[in-house]
Structure formats: structure tokens, C-alpha cells
């Protein structure tokens, strides 16, 4: 019976990994703002997850385990680009890809502006913001995924939202302006 239960467990976990593809891509896109890179990171994460599936002890932690793998793939990507840099510096750096299709085509003005604003955040803040806001991970889960203290999650999130608010204030102001004005 162990063979049977092992088989069904593997099948179920593999299906859950496949189903997580879009979520991983969404977060990878919010970190990189480059669809090709986001797709590569997603594929790399899924490949690693499928290969290392036997190492997953608790199936309940599959989602956060997958996002930890994505985090490592993202870090590896930057290590390969800038091998001499410290990872802490990397998390405080700002990576904005130039002239990607994301910059050229936006679904709407607001979507485009928010994505641009997120892309202007330092990477460490961007990661925390998107894990909490997009994927609704708790602070504790985000801390475990990114391998940082929970206090750092809170401070980065706080700074991220403050900066985002500043970046978007023009848009919000524009949206709240009355469309008709009376001229006396």
C-alpha cells in the first residue's frame, strides 16, 4: 500500500505544482517586469520543484516551498549577472528593465502606472510587497520564503507602500479631480 499512497501523493503534488504556474509567473513578472525573464524563472522554478519533489516533507507547505524556489532562482539570476555583488546590496538595488513590451503595451493606464511604480521599488521591497499583496502570504510565510526576519518584512512592506503611494499620487490626484469645473 505504500507504493500506492506514494504514487497518489506524487500525482497530486505534481498537479498542484503545474497549477501554480500562473501564480509563480505573476510574481516573477512583478519582480522582473520582463515577460521573457519571468517565464524563464517560472520554468526554472517548476523544473527544480519537480526534480526536488521527493525532498518536500510537508505537502501543506508546497506553495511557500515553490515561492522559496522562485526566490532562489531570482537570486541565482542576479548572482550570474553580477557575481561580485553582495546579496544584501542586490535586495536594496533597483532593477528596471529597459523597453520591455511591458513598458510599451499596458492593459490600461492604471495597470501600467502601478507596474511602473512597483518596478521602481528596490528589489527587496518589491518582493515583500508582491508576496503579501498578490499572493496573500502572511508576514511569517513571506519571511520564510525570502529567508529574512519578520521585522524586515514589516519594515520593507511599510517603505514599499509609502514609496508606492508617492509614485502614484499623481495618478490618484488625477483620478480624484472633478471632470467638470464651473467657471465663474
Amino acid at each position: 500500500m505504500q507504493v500506492l499512497s506514494h504514487f497518489f501523493r506524487q500525482r497530486e503534488l505534481t498537479a498542484r505544482i503545474e497549477a501554480s504556474r500562473q501564480r509563480l509567473y505573476r510574481v516573477a513578472l512583478s519582480w522582473s517586469h520582463d515577460p521573457s525573464l519571468a517565464d524563464d524563472l517560472t520554468q526554472e522554478s517548476l523544473t527544480k520543484a519537480l526534480k526536488k519533489l521527493a525532498q518536500l516533507k510537508d505537502p501543506a507547505t508546497l506553495e511557500s516551498w515553490l515561492f522559496s524556489i522562485l526566490t532562489n532562482c531570482w537570486r541565482d539570476h542576479f548572482r550570474a549577472l553580477r557575481p561580485a555583488e553582495d546579496i544584501a546590496d542586490f535586495e536594496e538595488s533597483i532593477f528596471i528593465p529597459e523597453d520591455t513590451p511591458e513598458h510599451i503595451h499596458g492593459n490600461s493606464q492604471m495597470v501600467q502606472r502601478v507596474r511602473e511604480a512597483v518596478a521602481r521599488l528596490p528589489i527587496g521591497q518589491r518582493q515583500v510587497l508582491t508576496l503579501v499583496d498578490l499572493e496573500e502570504f502572511s508576514y511569517g510565510e513571506a519571511a520564510a520564503i525570502l529567508d529574512i526576519p519578520i521585522g524586515t518584512v514589516m519594515s520593507r512592506l511599510c517603505r514599499a507602500r509609502q514609496q508606492l503611494k508617492d509614485y502614484l499620487s499623481d495618478l490618484q490626484h488625477h483620478r480624484t479631480e472633478p471632470r467638470l469645473r464651473r467657471v465663474k
Binding site: P35, L50, K51, L53, R161
Partner: protein
């Protein structure tokens, strides 16, 4: 009752993210009633959260794994067959205290390790690098496995999957091993070549025409192939 209007931003963020305990939540709620600035801050944080979520809500990967019903049925039949084979093999292995056929993903293995253990029925060899030594090693492993299966008269299938820069191995205009691949194809009908279509498309977008070794099939993405074949019992080897 006076409330402290100076509540740290981090606490207000935690309130919006539902990270506070009951007592703390009540304190913030009460403060939001009496202090309009706090109420406004909470609304702003909530609005930002919604905007971020909305901005990426429809972000989808460039290519999707198609959930075709007939494909699912085939997978179901294959899974049932695999299950029966798995149970029999597992029982057999248990009886004779031997290493059974491994249908799980156990990480990187090479042909030498497989030669020591029982040879699986199906092997997926994956190459994603254009390093000459890796290409050579990949083809060497493929040849060793095919030979071993032929000599032991065991049913065996080998698929060589190439993506990223590893696609060069299967490009007739770039691969230094076209003749060796053709020889393997000629000698072994159970040898399959798979090229990642996404990599081909990417090269095409860069203005590069990709010519593949004759007989090479394309798969949507490398991950599609892994996700389909590994659960179906294929043994994975990364070159």
C-alpha cells in the same frame, strides 16, 4: 476616550494585512473612528493593496499547458497502466529485497548510476547548455543507455530534450554532432529527439532561423514535457 493618534505605519499596514491580534485590532478600529487621519491612512493602504493586485491580476505566462480532455484521458489510462506495473514491480522488489524501478523524481542521476541499478523503461535526458563537453556527455550517456538496453533485451525508450542554449545540439546548422545523432537515430528506433518550441520562437523573434536535425519533434516548453512525462514514469537525467 482619547486614542493615541500616532500609530506606527507598520502597525496600520499589519492591520490592513490582518496580522494583528484581537486586542490590537480593536485599538486600531477605535482610533480610526475618532481620528480621521488614521481612517484615511487605512483606506489608502487598502487602496494600494487593491491596485497592486489588480495590476498583475491578468498576467499570464506566454504559453499555457493545454488541458485537453483527450490528453487527460490518455494520461489517465497511462497512469492506470503505470499503477499496475508499479504495484507488481514494487511487490516483486519487496520480495527479493532489491531496488525497485524508481517512478519518483530522485534528482540528478547519470547513466553509470543507472547501469548499477535496474535500467528504467523510459529515460528523459535533458540538456539546456551549449557547452561542448555537456553536449558530448549527453550524447555519450544516450548511446550508453541505448546500448545497455539493447544488450539486455529490455524494452526501453530514450528522449533527448533540448532547450535554451542546449537547443544548439539539435540544430542542424550549429550542432557539431549531427552525424553522431543521425547514427543513433538510424541504429535505435526507440530514440526520440525533442526541441523546446519556446526557445525556437525566441530565436525566431531575434531574426534567427532554426533548422533542426531531421526527425526532431517540438514540445511547447521544456517544462511541459517534464510535467507530462515525469508523472508518467519517465526517469529524469539532467546533463
Amino acid at each position: 476616550m482619547m486614542h493615541d493618534p500616532h500609530i506606527p505605519d507598520a502597525t496600520l499596514n499589519a492591520f490592513v494585512d490582518d496580522e494583528l491580534d484581537e486586542t490590537e485590532r480593536e485599538r486600531i478600529l477605535a482610533a480610526s473612528v475618532t481620528t480621521p487621519e488614521i481612517k484615511q491612512q487605512i483606506c489608502e493602504i487598502g487602496a494600494l493593496k487593491s491596485m497592486v493586485r489588480h495590476a498583475y491580476a491578468h498576467a499570464t505566462p506566454p504559453q499555457h499547458m493545454a488541458a485537453q480532455p483527450h490528453k487527460r484521458v490518455r494520461h489517465g489510462v497511462a497512469a492506470c497502466c503505470l499503477l499496475v506495473v508499479g504495484v507488481l514491480v514494487g511487490w516483486y522488489a519487496h520480495l527479493f529485497n532489491q531496488i525497485g524501478v524508481n517512478t519518483a523524481v530522485t534528482g540528478k542521476q547519470n547513466a553509470a548510476q543507472l547501469a548499477v541499478a535496474a535500467l528504467p523503461e523510459r529515460v528523459l535526458l535533458h540538456i539546456d547548455s551549449d557547452q561542448p563537453e555537456k553536449m558530448k556527455a549527453g550524447l555519450q550517456e544516450a548511446e550508453n543507455l541505448l546500448k545497455q538496453a539493447e544488450q539486455s533485451h529490455t524494452p526501453f525508450k530514450l528522449a533527448l530534450l533540448a532547450n535554451k542554449s542546449g537547443l544548439d545540439l539539435l540544430r542542424s546548422d550549429k550542432s557539431p554532432y549531427v552525424e553522431q545523432i543521425a547514427a543513433l537515430q538510424k541504429n535505435y528506433s526507440n530514440f526520440e529527439l525533442l526541441a523546446c518550441k519556446q526557445t525556437i520562437d525566441r530565436l525566431h523573434n531575434q531574426g534567427i532561423d532554426v533548422h533542426l536535425v531531421p526527425g526532431t519533434q517540438t514540445s511547447n516548453t521544456a517544462i511541459d514535457t517534464l510535467a507530462t512525462r515525469l508523472p508518467a514514469g519517465w526517469h529524469y537525467i539532467k546533463v
